[in-house]
Amino acid sequence: MKSLIERVSTKYNLQEVVQQRDNLVFAYVDKELAIDMVTYMRDYEGYAHFTLMSCVDWIEDGKFQLLYLLNNPETKTEFGIKVAIDRDNAVMQSAHHLWEQIWTYQRELKEAFGIDFPGSPRVDEDFVVEGWDDMPHMRRDFDTNKYAEETYFMREGRKSYDPATYMREKLYPKQPVTAKKNKDEQ
Amino acid sequence: MTIYAQLGYTFLGLFLVLNWGMLMSATFRKIVARVAGRHGIPIYQPWIDLVKNAGVRTTLSHGTMFYLGPVFRLTGAVGMFLFMPALVGIGNEHWLNFSFQGDIILILYFQLFGMLGMALGAGEGGQPHSAIGIGRGLAQHAAVELPLTLGILSLAIQYQTLSLVDIANAQQGGILNWTLFTNPVASAAIMLAALGAFGHSPFNLVKAPNEIPIGPPTEYHGSYLGILMSSGAIIHVMEAALFMNLVFGGATSWIEFIIKTFLIYFYSIFVGVVFPRFRIEQSVVWFFKLPLVLGIIAILIYSF
């Protein structure tokens, strides 16, 4: 694993390499080199199995972080390739030519985060939420509570209770709350 | 006997057979429930379902054939009853219905008649699941008909008649006179084909509710479904009565009729409880193996 990291990091200028476990490594790579590196890992390093592709919204940094998680079935190791892309201009090179299932992930990311993958098949079609016309719903600046209040009909009189205190009041109404608490702590 | 008296007896018999068929299907579900450790439906559930279906307010139509599908099905069921003797033997001449020389041919035709009518009606419904169900049903029916017809032809050669009354009468006078013992090979072919004719598991792919398409009746609702249910009840009894007359010596009283049809019906139920459902290509191949070979042997025995 170590030799692999050394070999790859000089080649692709990896940053923030984190070895999570013996068989799991995460590393950032530049946006332009990412697909190149995924191809290299697949063709030359034996990471032939594509596990998943996901996205994290780092709204504070103005970045989306894409993750390509690759698996090497022979050495039983995983390599997570992270890419930071600009949040305002969220376009990424498509990787659907490497593994066919990637275009489904990309379609999902297009719908949930608004990240565009030009050239990816059916990327503009609805994936899970049909007929969505608002801001992509997994972006963190999308206020889901406000949207739900505006779109759906809230029922009056909805209350939330803390389950522990509520049950205590219901089950042992005469017992003072403090005494009960002490008993719990013992 | 006047034609009016004959009609009266026939309608009375039809009424008895309809109710007996519904009671039989309720009993079947009750027994399956008890085997599973459940209480199961109330025994009068089929009648309630019938009333409820008649009370459905919305009735949609897809055209004339859609109306006629259930009617054809009912015609097939009633036709099977009309041309089959309910009871045979001395003193039961008024229960012979309208059976005549050569009625077996007509009854075999009526078996298919309701199915074809349903195919036309359900086809007009436009539901793709119906079309799948019809395709499966007709394919399976063709496979069932072959051993069944061969077995029946063997009986026809054996008894030198195509009349169901004569065949049933020839078996009177003791269990050993039944076709089951006088022509066991043909009986085996017929009774194996009977499993398919009843359409219970393992041969119920066509209309099992838990298959993705419920089959031809997918689009039928309300009164249409009520007609289908009542004709289904009649058909179950009449299929059992057909095999009773062919193989098990017919019936000389209604008590005997009820016991024998019940046992024949439950023979198919018990097989169904034991064996899981066949896919359509498996069931067709199954009928083309053992039952068909038995049917051919039964024919060959009496050909020389």
Binding site: V91, Q93, V129 | A36, G40, V51, K52, V56, T218
Partner: protein, 232 residues
């Protein structure tokens, strides 16, 4: 590479407003074999565009008898909409045995008269639920299972699930809980029977009377409306 990206962006900015009607269902003109031009609108050519009408119940003893039969023979549409549908299979097992109450499952909406909305209802499923509900013949009853159908439950602030089912279709019985046990569902069936027997289970007629209101609410959340207004 950059040129490609720019092209894609240009495409994205000039993209027209999304149409949700499938291309084969769009209103258009076609040329017949004899050369004449025919206007087609498949959604209304293939399906009936008629609105539902109120179907008045019979009077007196007849309706009472029919209502008794309807109450004793509840055919439930086998359509699980949310997590609550996992509570329905145990209903048919020896422990709960809903068959005792005349409850049976039917695989097609045409033959069923009760619809269990089991748990949360996403907008995507709501569209299918409406289609299935409208295909059921009247009289029909809706059982809303779980808190999510009452006020949204734990998904009250979700962008994709509705909060109040009764804004979209008439509901006869609510069963509260997250999740309600099968016993609660059985109690709901008994309650539904009481409602039907007392002649109050007229949800289908309520739907027909307030059709425009229900349709407006439905169209507010289902933005890709590409079916006829009433699915016969």
């Amino acid at each position: 590479m950059n040129e490609l990206l720019k092209k894609a962006e240009a495409n994205a900015s000039t993209k027209e407003e999304k149409s949700f009607v499938r291309p084969e269902d769009e209103e258009r003109e076609v040329i017949a074999p004899d050369g004449s031009i025919i206007k087609v609108n498949p959604i209304y050519d293939y399906f009936s565009g008629e609105k539902p009408s109120v179907e008045k119940p019979n009077k007196g003893v007849v309706e009472k008898f029919l209502n008794w039969a309807r109450a004793e023979s509840i055919w439930v549409l086998g359509f699980g909409t949310g997590c609550g549908s996992i509570e329905i299979p145990p209903l048919m097992t020896p422990r709960f045995d809903a068959f005792r109450f005349g409850v049976q499952m039917r695989p097609t909406p045409r033959q069923s008269n009760a619809f269990i909305i089991s748990g949360y209802l996403s907008v995507k499923t709501l569209k299918r639920v409406i289609r299935s509900y409208e295909q059921m013949p009247s009289p029909k009853y809706v059982i809303a299972l779980g808190s999510c159908t009452i006020n949204g439950g734990m998904y009250y602030d979700s962008y994709s699930t509705i909060n109040r089912l009764d804004k979209y279709m008439p509901v006869d019985v609510y069963i509260a809980g997250c999740m309600p046990r099968p016993e609660a569902l059985l109690a709901g069936f008994v309650k539904l029977k009481e409602i039907i027997k007392s002649g109050k289970g007229e949800g289908a007629n309520l739907y027909a009377e307030n059709f425009d209101e229900y349709k407006a609410n439905q169209k507010k959340v289902i933005k890709d409306w590409n079916m006829p207004d009433y699915n016969w």
